[in-house]
């Protein structure tokens, strides 16, 4: 079993490769090229924010051991622990002893002098960790939860939704029963149960969120497929002798994509927020913004209160979700030929 950081590096490499391939492929099609140009033109700031978060997350996922571990002679741990690019952007002895306000020169309680006075842009938390550093690291968790779960949800929802809507009959009954059953269970309870069974690792939490999250999209996709199945161009395709799988892949699924894109975006934001809720319940993923917010619960009741911790995590969460929603909105408009014509 290779070490965790090696796996993580490999995944990042694969993701970058995959993204490059997808971009290359999409660049050849006029529809996607125009859609891309339209999104860049309409939402430059939001797109930049999203890309910034993605870049930080990717940089935080690439890590290796050794090098730069000048935390002092006796610090064996830091030499052997893999540190990511983001970690390495900060000095190794960056941690303070306890809380300090943003840009403060002394500790918040007690007033002892800091090791790096005036250099913690967003202050430090209860055990002296730099809040800016934690916030940056949170991006990776947020994108993992949002991205991986969305990748689980979309194929599941498409598979069940399209097949149920298109085939109808007994299979439709089965799928619909499944959907109704899942939808009838309280989502949070099901999540907690699944996490209890699967474990609390980041991937496990994503799977649990995926299992509870595909129902809405599936229902939408099924309904839309039912409608599309009877549309004239699907009939016309059948009358021309087009085979059923080809009808599905060329005439039904492409016409569902606008739904999938917009739902995926909403889902993404929703999932990042759900993770915050899970963290608040104490079953979230370590290092997430949700956990930072969770910790802030106690800090707000101190006197004087500690606010920078909460504010940083919330601002990051807010910025990411707002940017993703705005980009998604533009993507949907750009992918729909009817609105795309108006925008061009």
């Amino acid at each position: 079993m290779p070490e965790a950081h090696v796996v993580s590096n490999a995944v990042v490499a694969l993701l970058v490769l995959f993204a490059a391939l997808v971009l290359r492929r999409a660049g050849r099609s006029r529809l996607w090229r125009e859609a891309g140009a339209s999104v860049v033109r309409r939402r430059p700031v939001s797109l930049a924010v999203v890309l910034l978060f993605v870049a930080v997350a990717l940089l935080d996922a690439v890590s290796w051991t050794g090098g730069g571990g000048d935390a002092g002679e006796g610090d064996v741990v830091s030499v052997h622990q893999p540190r990511s690019v983001v970690d390495r952007a900060f000095p190794a002895d960056w941690n303070e002893a306890s809380y300090s306000a943003p840009l403060a020169r002394v500790e918040f309680y007690g007033g002892a002098p800091l090791r790096h006075p005036g250099r913690h842009l967003l202050g430090t938390d209860i055990i002296g960790r730099d809040v800016l550093h934690l916030t940056l690291k949170g991006a990776r968790v947020a994108l993992l939860v949002g991205g991986l779960t969305t990748l689980i949800v979309i194929p599941l929802a498409l598979l069940f939704g399209v097949s149920a809507g298109y085939r109808g009959g007994r299979w439709d009954d089965v799928v619909f029963f499944l959907i109704s059953t899942l939808a009838a269970m309280p989502g949070l309870l099901l999540l907690i149960a699944l996490i209890a069974v699967l474990g609390r690792g980041p991937v496990q939490v994503c799977v649990a969120l995926g299992v509870t999250g595909w129902v809405g999209l599936c229902r939408l996709v099924r309904g839309e497929t039912l409608k599309l199945r009877e549309l004239d161009y699907v009939r016309a395709a059948r009358a021309l002798g087009v085979s059923e799988p080809r009808i599905l892949f060329r005439h039904v699924i492409p016409n569902l994509m606008h739904l999938v894109v917009i739902t995926a975006v909403l889902l993404f934001s929703g999932l990042v927020l759900s993770e915050a809720v899970l963290s608040w319940l104490g079953i979230g993923i370590d290092g997430s913004w949700g956990q930072m917010i969770d910790q802030a619960r106690d800090e707000l009741s101190r006197d004087p209160p500690i606010t920078w911790n909460l504010l940083s995590a919330s601002a990051a969460l807010f910025a990411l979700i707002l940017a993703v929603n705005r980009v998604g909105d533009a993507v949907r408009d750009a992918l729909d030929p009817r609105t795309a014509a108006e925008l061009a």
Binding site: D232, R238, R250
Partner: protein
């Protein structure tokens, strides 16, 4: 003897209803010769479109064909395996639909869709298919065909879309074109253009057309023969001149009387009283009996058989049968 492109015998298509299956097409027989235009006339819901869908085995679920025989270009359609049926669709018989607005996939350019149709039945390169598409666009009268290739469906007018549909239907030179109310959704000037185009292409290629319509004006423009359908059954069939000039069935006569004409200006338009009975009220006899002005005692109880009243002219009507019998007695005397 001209070549038969399509022969239909005793076709019945049924949908499940609350009280057992309902035959929306009931014991329908007809044929279409090579190069002939047969118009199928009747009001909404009489089973015209279902007859057309049945020909290509495209009856939407849960409906299905329950009886009959369909022979298309010498092949028994109802006995073909699914894959061969797919080869028949588009190649032997193509179909165009009523609503050009929704007949094209909105997320593909129109050219790509025609290319797909061409390459479905022919092994041909992408460039060759593209050239063929532009030729077809030119043939169906689309201006600037090269540029239209990359147009999206929403950028075209209804008439243009119907032309694209016709191009798509023509691409593998089918022997039979099933046109399901091809001009209903278009405005009158465009209607005339599309009809002209259909007639031109039909003459040029010798293709047969099964034209489904409720517009007798279109029948007059295009049809060689006419079949009148009422409540899932054929009631009268004959040449265009026979039906439009000397229809015998009271229903056909009623339809013809209800066309506005300049000569009857200011006169209240004739109508057929009542409405089409719903399938659960279909009795064993003639289904028009309840609205017929010449109804006889046994009309509702006994189904009228097909009666030859002229060259290729058939009528299913008890009243006409009695007229004929009376005429023969008169002649014998």
């Amino acid at each position: 003897m001209s070549e038969r492109v399509l022969t239909v015998e005793g076709l019945a298509t049924a949908f499940p209803g609350p009280a057992g299956p309902v035959r929306v097409v009931d014991d329908v027989s007809f044929h279409v010769d090579r190069g002939e235009v047969l118009a199928l006339v009747g009001e909404s819901g009489c089973g015209k479109s279902m007859t057309a869908f049945s020909l290509l085995r495209l009856v939407p679920r849960p409906g299905r064909i329950v009886a009959g025989r369909i022979e298309l270009a010498g092949r028994d359609v109802l006995a073909l395996p699914v894959t061969e049926m797919r080869a028949v669709r588009g190649r032997e018989a193509a179909m165009i639909f009523q609503e050009p607005m929704t007949s094209l996939n909105p997320v593909q350019t129109v050219g790509v869709q025609v290319v797909e149709a061409i390459r479905l039945h022919e092994r041909i390169g992408a460039d060759a298919a593209r050239r063929r598409t532009v030729e077809l666009f030119e043939r169906v009268g689309i201006p600037d065909p090269g540029a239209r290739f990359d147009a999206w469906p929403h950028q075209l007018s209804g008439g243009m879309k119907q032309r694209v549909m016709i191009a798509m239907a023509l691409c593998s030179r089918p022997k039979l074109l099933v046109a399901d109310e091809p001009t209903t959704a278009l405005d009158v000037t465009i209607q005339a253009q599309i009809l002209d185009l259909l007639r031109e292409i039909q003459r040029e290629t010798g293709m047969s057309i099964l034209l489904i319509t409720h517009d007798l004006g279109i029948v007059n423009e295009l049809a060689d023969r006419v079949a009148v359908m009422y409540a899932a059954r054929f009631v009268e069939e004959g040449s265009r001149t026979a039906i439009l000039g000397a229809a015998r069935h009271p229903y056909s006569q009623g339809l013809l009387r209800s066309i506005p004409a300049r000569a009857r200006r200011g006169v209240r338009l004739a109508e057929i009283g009542g409405t089409v009975p719903p399938p659960e009220d279909w009795g064993p006899g003639c289904r028009f009996a309840g609205r017929c002005e010449r109804v006889l005692d046994h009309c509702a109880a006994e189904r009228p058989g097909a009666l030859r009243v002229g060259e290729g002219h058939q009528v299913c009507c008890h009243a006409v049968a009695r007229d004929l019998a009376a005429a023969t007695r008169e002649a014998a005397r």
